[in-house]
Amino acid sequence: MEVHLPNSGFLGNIELFLRKLRFENPKELNISFNPKWVSVHPVILAAVAAIAEECKLNNVPIVVPRQLAPKSYPYFVRMGLFDCIGIKSPQEIEFHEGAGRFVPLRKISSGAELSNFISDMIPLLHAKPENADPIKYVVSELIRNVLEHAESPVGAFICAQYFKNKNRISIGVADRGMGITNSMSISHTVNNDKEAINLALRPGITGTTKRIGGTENNAGAGLFFTRNIAKASDNLFFIYSGNAYFKQLKKKKQPAEQMELFSDPFLDPCTVRSDAKVWNGTIVGLDIAAEGGKSFSHLLGNIRQAYSLDVKHKNKEKYKRPRFI
């Protein structure tokens, strides 16, 4: 197996990372790095950490080149990559207080660990309370998806980073579980990975039941909300499972109130491919606005409208309203 970290690998050009993945020889994992410098989206680090953890569990040797780009040492060390791979950092790094706003790689295997992680995470990103809500929201939904549906032997790996010049926070989550197709197939007829991704991103569809409204514990709306939180702040969303991936692209700038949210993810400007190397499990990456976006309640209001329109009920006025006191 081979994983290569390119010099630049963000959601817009993540194909640079995907193209060089090799899973043919499961007896060894080779991790290589661009020799000059590496700057990548947290989703790539989460993916590398997840596959490395799986190798460690299965006693598969991990091979890392002795020579790494010196400029990339501090970045990898800070993000916890060497710890996750299980190798000693090739160079001691001096940390400077407050030098960065990032959440290093973390493995999460239980709901309690998730709750602790969410409490720890926001101070690390130095996010203002009004900007922290969407971050907490998507992290909770993405990790709970893994814990409840993936049966991942390595749990979920997550990391995040604030990019000041882009005014965005990037989040990546990866697992090595059953993948979306297997999960959706429990209750739905799914022909391939691309179809499974489409279903998983629609509102109200969960792998746990065919029933609209879900079960008492699952509604099937987490990924729909998450995808649209990225979209509403005019940012990218990426999901990869099996041999398929979906990348929601940015739309031409338009006023927030005119932004249309679709239940079918493929109606959005996007890249959808079903010829990628087969990733056993699921990878999700997204960017959200760090500051100055719409209020989260406004954004949730838009998503709520899109959700309701999808079910196309025409007799909503007959519906009983919750009583807020």
């Binding site: 879900g214 709306a221 007799n315 309203r321 009583r323």
Partner: protein
């Protein structure tokens, strides 16, 4: 009336579905079964996930129908939480019309 102070159980961010399930099974459903009104007090809760709200109230709505919303009141909700509660109440009622 059974009043449940959520902040004591979930903190300021209501996302733990295991806790939602406990509240639902230990407090909400028994109260409703006994004909007692339930007040869910979100004072001090600044944010929730839709999954949390779903785990909290979808099952009672499915069991007792939409009229159970006459027995449940949502107190001290901010705008985000109101939106999430409304989403869940809406799609649970959609599920009746589509069944």
């Amino acid at each position: 009336m059974k009043e449940i102070i959520l902040q004591q159980k979930v903190g300021s961010f209501a996302e733990n579905k295991d806790v939602a399930r406990e509240i639902r099974e230990q407090f909400i459903k028994p109260a409703l079964a006994a004909g007692v009104d339930v007040v869910l007090d979100f004072e001090g809760v600044s944010m929730a996930t839709q999954s949390f709200i779903h785990a909290l109230i979808s099952d009672p709505i499915r069991i007792y129908g939409a009229n159970v919303l006459d027995q449940i009141a949502f107190k001290n909700c901010n705008e985000s939480i109101k939106t999430l509660v409304t989403v869940v109440c809406d799609y649970m009622q959609d599920s009746f019309t589509n069944e």
